[in-house]
């Protein structure tokens, strides 16, 4: 383990942890995708997750959101143990997520995609839900495509829709899975601004991303995974200077 000390979220502006992952392990057959992984994310923090392909980053999201159950370990949100709680209840308790490969409701309109999330995850109704969804669409740059079927959107817009739909559920904890891939520099900058704005509203964010300049610009802390294990955690600059990270993730021999 790298000798990075600033690993506790309490170290970040003294905030209590919103999410603790405790000793999570998950295997698919003989393949161990997550091995005894523990980390905490403080309230209002942007927490970056890095790692080479196949490091088990998305699996960690699936374990937090409840899409799959951990073999061992616990996910604790806001002091409440989420183990055994199904995904749909976790969504209503404030865990919102995006999918790396977008999963829009293709035959529903973009606006209706958000409405599902606002209604069931966000538990809003009627005019309040409509207003929230319309505002969120505008914030994510989809305002002029509100009534288009989501299936007709380009890949880039589908990624925007993933973020918008997760935001529509008013999550406390937002899990973003590679939403900056394929963006131009200008678009990535807008995305970083949007994520910083969400954080300022009190949303806690965990962001898996390969676009380093984007995540470095906004992450408060980061962790790096390799073969399902945490190899580094701490402030972004410190993590990127770590010899093990440079070797495993960037392929640079120190």
């Amino acid at each position: 383990m790298a000798g990075l000390t600033d690993a506790s979220p309490e170290g970040h502006a003294g905030r209590a942890a919103l999410l603790s992952a405790r000793n999570l392990s998950k295997s698919f057959g003989a393949l161990r995708v997550t091995q005894d992984l523990s980390f905490e994310v403080g309230r209002g923090e942007v927490f970056g997750v890095l790692g080479p392909n196949g490091a088990g980053k998305t699996t960690v999201f699936n374990l937090i959101s409840g899409d799959i159950a951990a073999d061992v370990g616990a996910v604790v949100l806001d002091g409440q143990d989420m183990t055994g709680i199904p995904a749909f209840k976790r969504a209503a308790k404030g865990i919102g997520r995006t999918y790396q490969i977008p999963r829009p409701y293709t035959q529903m309109s973009t606006f209706e995609n958000l409405l599902v999330s606002a209604t069931f995850a966000g538990q809003m109704r009627g005019q309040a839900a409509y207003d929230h969804c319309a505002t969120t669409l505008d914030e994510c740059g989809l305002g002029d495509k509100a009534n288009r079927p989501a299936g007709s959107l380009t890949l880039l817009d589908r990624k925007r829709l993933e973020l918008a739909r997760a935001m529509a559920g008013k999550p406390k904890l937002l899990l973003l899975d590679e939403i900056a891939g394929g963006l131009t520099d200008g678009e990535a900058k807008d995305l970083v601004t949007l994520i910083a704005r969400l954080r300022d509203r009190g949303v806690t964010i965990i962001w898996i991303e390969h676009v380093l300049h984007a995540i470095m610009a906004v992450a408060d802390r980061m962790m790096v995974l390799s073969f399902g294990e945490k190899i580094a955690e701490g402030k972004p600059d410190a993590v990127m200077r770590d010899a093990e990270v440079r070797r495993v993730y960037m392929g640079i021999e120190a």
Binding site: P86, A87, F88, P104, S109, L115, F120, D138
Partner: protein, 332 residues
Amino acid sequence: MTDPHFATVHRHTSSSRIAIGCGLLLVLAIPSMPFWASSGHIRWAVELGCFIAIAQMWNLLAGYGGMVSVGQQAFIGLGGYALFVLVTLFGVDPFLAVPLSVILPALVAAPAYMLLRRLDGPYFAIGTWVLAEVLRLITSNIGAVNAGSGMTLKAMAKYSAHQREIGLTLLVALLLLLTVGGTYLLLRSRLGLALTAMRDDAVAASSQGVNVGRMRFSVYLLAAVGTGLAGAIYFMAQLRISPTSGFDPNWSSICIFIVMVGGIGRLEGPIIGALLYFFATRLFGQYGSAYLVVLGLLTLVVAIRAPTGLWGLMTRLRPWPWFPTGYILTKG
């Protein structure tokens, strides 16, 4: 912070107002048929109404719930047999027995779902078929319901032909209001939003707070009740039921044809499909198996070339929905 938007949402179009108005008038006109239409036409209306209802329930189950069943005849037969048993063995008035006939399908559907939900995709389909066959075999071996030779609704003799027609047409109008109208209202409600999302992507829906398991159970139960009601009415009109007619696998072929050709996952689809099936059968039924081959080929061609069915093609030409369930955003 951004200003509040005061979004305005429209849920109806001019085409839907006209279509719903015409639809209601048509349904309300059915009970008046005994006063002006011939007995043959009334029989047609009853049969067509039952087809629309059964297909709409299959559409709810397969098109929205994602549960492709090839065994809905289980509930047609159960609804029919419940009616005949209530009337013949318990002396209940036939017209009163029809609404009571949905209890048996519901009582069988609930535990059946607990078993079937463990099966995925093709296994689920096979499971539903097995259930229907098991029910057929059990019925064929119960002496109290005349086993394989079936039952006759002799109690209907106490009503005149005219009274029977009035009763049947009222029941069919009610059936259409409940199955088509009820599904429409369900789909426009909060639960409809969840169902429509599930239809498109059940995994994403559950990650956004939709209780997919409970929705599927409710849909299975509702479909069983609606199908059972249609079965009771259909066999009341026939005056006879047997295990082979009640639990006939052909019902599933009819459902699949009507919904696939009409347009799956759309309310309008089963109506168009049922009209097509019904009139095609009246016109070409005399050609027997050659006609069935053509129907089968038509289903294949539509499934491959136009998976959204005839309704999908019509929508592409003119986007004029009859029963819109969506939310159109206009900013005020």
